[in-house]
Amino acid sequence: MLDLSPLWISIKTAFTATFIVFFLGIAVAWFMSRYKGKIRGLLDAIFTLPLVLPPTVVGFILLIIIGKNSPIGKGLSHIGINIIFTWSATVIAATIVAFPLMYRTCLGAFGQIDINMLNAARTLGVSEWKLFWKVAVPLAWPGIASGTTLSFARALGEFGATLMVAGSIPGKTQTIPIAIYFAVESGENNAAIMWVSFIFIISLVVMVLTEKWTEKQYFIVSSARRK
């Protein structure tokens, strides 16, 4: 009987990473959409960097930051926590590589909002908090949703950084992409084909569901632009 653990690990990792990236990406994008300070370009580059760097570079940098010999790693091992080669490491790797996709897409979506609509809300006396939740997020929702889908797909497919910081421990840190790699390497073609089909199915289902889920919102939001 085939070990199905990579499937659960992958799904668990992708959902957890997407959950974190969802809130973090929206918050950072909203901040950046209004931030006009001097280091805007620098911040933007830093937030986008994991997208353009090879995953192995991200993995290497992560090893330096949270590895056993780093200050953070030492501090954590003092209180009995070790991140490297654990499930947490797969989540951290997936979160970091998926973040830029969420951030970029949301930044674009917030930028598309008619600035008059935000100012109209302000003249009505509402707080920035209410403005964000009731106007900015609903209007940016189609963008936020596609950012979420992209992030999920990226987190699900993460390989390089995950292998470097979490390794390939069956039943613990071995995700589907890593299982595929090792299956092919050891000549188990049937197993590889099965894992590939799983990835296909999950990605398709998630994308179709998001599309259905945002159809109506997209119609309403874009109605303001059609005129």
């Binding site: 008619d114 008059n116 609509m117 100012n119 109209a120 809300a121 302000r122 003249t123 009505l124 006396g125 509402v126 707080s127 209410k130 009731k134 106007v135 609903p138 209007l139 919102q217 309403i220 939001v221 109605s223 303001a224 059609r226 005129k227």
Partner: protein, 360 residues
């Protein structure tokens, strides 16, 4: 009710320098595109910040660069009607109107106030509709209801009619004027259309290159502009430099005419003008201020003919003209068959006498 604005803001190409005071009447800010009128409105609302100066509304300081006061938009108690209305597309009519209320208001009172506005603005039956399901006029009423339900002390309108076609605009001017009678505070209206300004406002302020060119009640502004810039902005097409000959004769230098006037104080007059539709065909060639005229060419609009006229002698080419004459097409059909030169009379009571050029 009183609004005091005294602000300076550097804009690309010119400096916006606004100093005005207004009370309970409808004030219109009239100026060509790029004259800084929208920016003035945005500074009052707090959307943009002036470089320096002071804005005060009913005794409350909204902005003061010296005392470093800059009240945020949401605390200014200002209603703002945007050109595109900026309705929230994902909210229904009643959600749009009630959006400004926070949790501190009781649900019952909230519903009651929303219903009142819905009735007042003839939106009954549309409570559950989304903005994209409404006509332009209905959208405007929702935007007005949404702004007025928060009981602002001033309502700022940023060219609310200029995105509309002629027919709709005409209809909406009447509607808007009626709707605005529901509002007790100050209304401040920005437009580049002089007809809109005249029909909607009691007092008009003319803006040119960021500076106030003229301000006064609408009759004075349109009938007696005191500078060339103000005359042009209110649509006067015929302007000439003037020289005073004696106490009741003035010479229009560019036109080469001497015009007789009476009971006018000509003292400081440096320019004269006459609106194109005030020129008339003399009934009797001996009438006062009647001059020989040759049509140079004509340009037709839908119902009117614009005739380019040259005084005193026949024109050499098509650029050789002095004034524009605006008459109905029917009249022109009759007149154009008469022998040349035409006898055109300048009614001195309709002359605009100006003392300076103003900011152009």
């Amino acid at each position: 009710m009183k609004l005091i604005v005294d602000i300076i803001k550097k804009l690309p190409g010119f400096e916006l320098k606004i100093k005005l005071e207004t009370d309970n009447i409808a004030l219109g800010l009239l100026g060509p595109s790029g004259s800084g009128k929208s920016m003035t409105l945005r500074c009052i609302a707090g959307i943009d910040t002036p470089d320096s100066g002071r804005i005060e509304l009913n005794g409350r300081v909204l902005f003061d660069s010296e005392k470093k006061i800059n009240i945020p938009i949401r605390k200014r108690k200002i209603g703002f009607l945007f050109q595109n209305y900026a309705l929230f597309p994902h909210m229904t009519v009643e959600e749009n109107i009630g959006f400004g209320f926070d949790k501190s208001i009781k649900l019952l009172e909230k519903d009651c106030r929303i219903n009142k506005k819905i009735e007042m603005f003839k939106l009954k039956g549309m409570e559950k509709k989304y903005p994209y399901q409404l006509s332009g006029g209905q959208q405007q009423r929702v935007a007005l209801a949404r702004a007025l339900i928060m009981e602002p002390e001033i309502l700022l309108l940023d060219e609310p009619l200029s995105a509309l076609d002629d027919y709709l605009r005409n209809k909406m001017i009447v509607e808007l004027k009626l709707d605005l009678t529901q509002f007790q505070g100050i209304t401040f209206f920005v437009t580049h259309n002089m007809e809109e300004a005249y029909r909607l406002c009691d007092k008009i302020c003319i803006l040119s290159h960021g500076q106030i060119e003229a301000m006064g009640n609408r009759e004075d502004i349109f009938n007696k502009p005191t500078t060339v810039a103000a005359a042009k902005l209110t649509g006067c097409k015929n302007i000439s430099e003037a020289k005073i000959i004696d106490e009741n004769t003035i010479e229009a230098i560019q036109w080469g005419l001497r015009i007789k006037l009476s009971n006018k104080d000509l003292h400081n007059v440096k320019y004269i003008g006459i609106r194109a539709h005030y020129l008339e065909l003399a009934k009797n060639p001996e009438d006062l201020n009647t001059f020989n005229c040759w049509p140079v060419f004509t340009s037709d609009t839908l119902f009117r003919s614009i005739i380019y006229l040259k005084f005193k002698e026949a024109p050499i080419n098509k650029l050789d003209y002095h004034v524009l004459w605006d008459i109905s097409k029917e009249e022109w059909e009759l007149i154009k068959k008469s022998p040349l030169p035409l006898k055109i009379k300048i009614n001195y009571e309709k002359l605009i006498l100006m003392e300076s050029k103003g900011i152009e």
